[in-house]
Symmetry: C2
Subunit: 247 residues, 2 copies
Amino acid sequence: MAYHLCKAFVSQGFKPQQVYARSKSKAAPFAKMGVEVVHNSAEIKNAELYILAVNDDSIADAAAILPAGDAIVVHTSGSMAMEILADYSPNCGVFYPLQTFSFEREVDFRPIPIFIEGANPAIESSLKKLASIISDSVVHSTHVDRRSLHLAAVYVSNFSNALFGIAHQILEENKLSFQHLAPLMRETVEKAIAKNPLSGQTGPARRNDKETIAAQLNLLNNKPEEKEIYEMLTKYIINKYHTSHNE
Amino acid sequence: MAYHLCKAFVSQGFKPQQVYARSKSKAAPFAKMGVEVVHNSAEIKNAELYILAVNDDSIADAAAILPAGDAIVVHTSGSMAMEILADYSPNCGVFYPLQTFSFEREVDFRPIPIFIEGANPAIESSLKKLASIISDSVVHSTHVDRRSLHLAAVYVSNFSNALFGIAHQILEENKLSFQHLAPLMRETVEKAIAKNPLSGQTGPARRNDKETIAAQLNLLNNKPEEKEIYEMLTKYIINKYHTSHNE
């Protein structure tokens, strides 16, 4: 996250004054962008704004080592409240870009929504300006909003990816390429985005096609966990579309 | 399926001689492409090839009404064996395009893989030529292959879409737009395609972040089915990445 944020700002001509990283192994990609990296918290400079792009359970530790002052301090978490920073700075806020980041994958920040919150309107205005440098989708948010967004993100990204992993495994065992699924995966996402996913549901469970469901469960006999997931999601879809009040 | 296949062939300058559709309401889109549509099985003309683009449980019925002869007869199903057509024509085959089709969404057929099988090499060669007119990815397949592909497709498309539906519902209840998730959904798919989804897994379950998991389960207290799905997929990811033999 820190790397991608930094890169997005640098690409817009806004170079962060400094990056602090505990681990020296993380310095190179920042240095390559011409950004100063320090590893000793005593070297952290005074600044107008600090972005704590760290894991949830490291946010308080990161805030604690900042120089005293009235700088704006924000975290980038979807699940933590802004208030966990209030002990460290009255000028706290949240700067939550909703995306999955991997070091080795470049991302285009412009379409990525950034959910901001500030302890007062002046901070919110500053954060909005800052986020607009890199994103076309800057949205004011509350903690309740971000919690819902983060939960929804777990379903569409982390859980979907686990299903992709099951499909990968099934195909690998049959010496078939996962790449065969690429057009289907892309179309499934584009269809869900273009029209409500609830109306675009297809497949054996949607049709309550018991014969195909039984045949597919049979193929999963040596995969108890994957079979359990198949059964549960099939039951979920059938209940949603074939219960009496829907027919 | 029939509509999209017909459209793909017409767009390449290969107009099907005739389309048979039981329901008159389905005639208009074919007629618009200049393709003759008939609704009475007695009007079905002799042809070199018949594509039965119908539901699995209608394949045999569709084959039964074809004029007697030695035409090639194929179905388009991922789950049915070629042999179910053998009673109707010795020259049978399978022509299975792996994609989710909706009438109202145009698709680009070129990247869509088409899995073919024929009762003999001459039929396979004909089907390969035919499929290559509309697709850049024509693959010989067995019934065992197609069953695996279809099962994998249920996970990446039907089941993922059900998860998208849950996310949609969570956001809707909080008056948040599902569109906020679009860049995340697209990146999740592209990352899984570019690198094995098993290596790209992220999220609270992947990190075994018990605090976030507990907080998210808490948000699902009034949604027992969605909570059960969260618990099962979280357990699945934790088992996969945090069991003793992986650590």
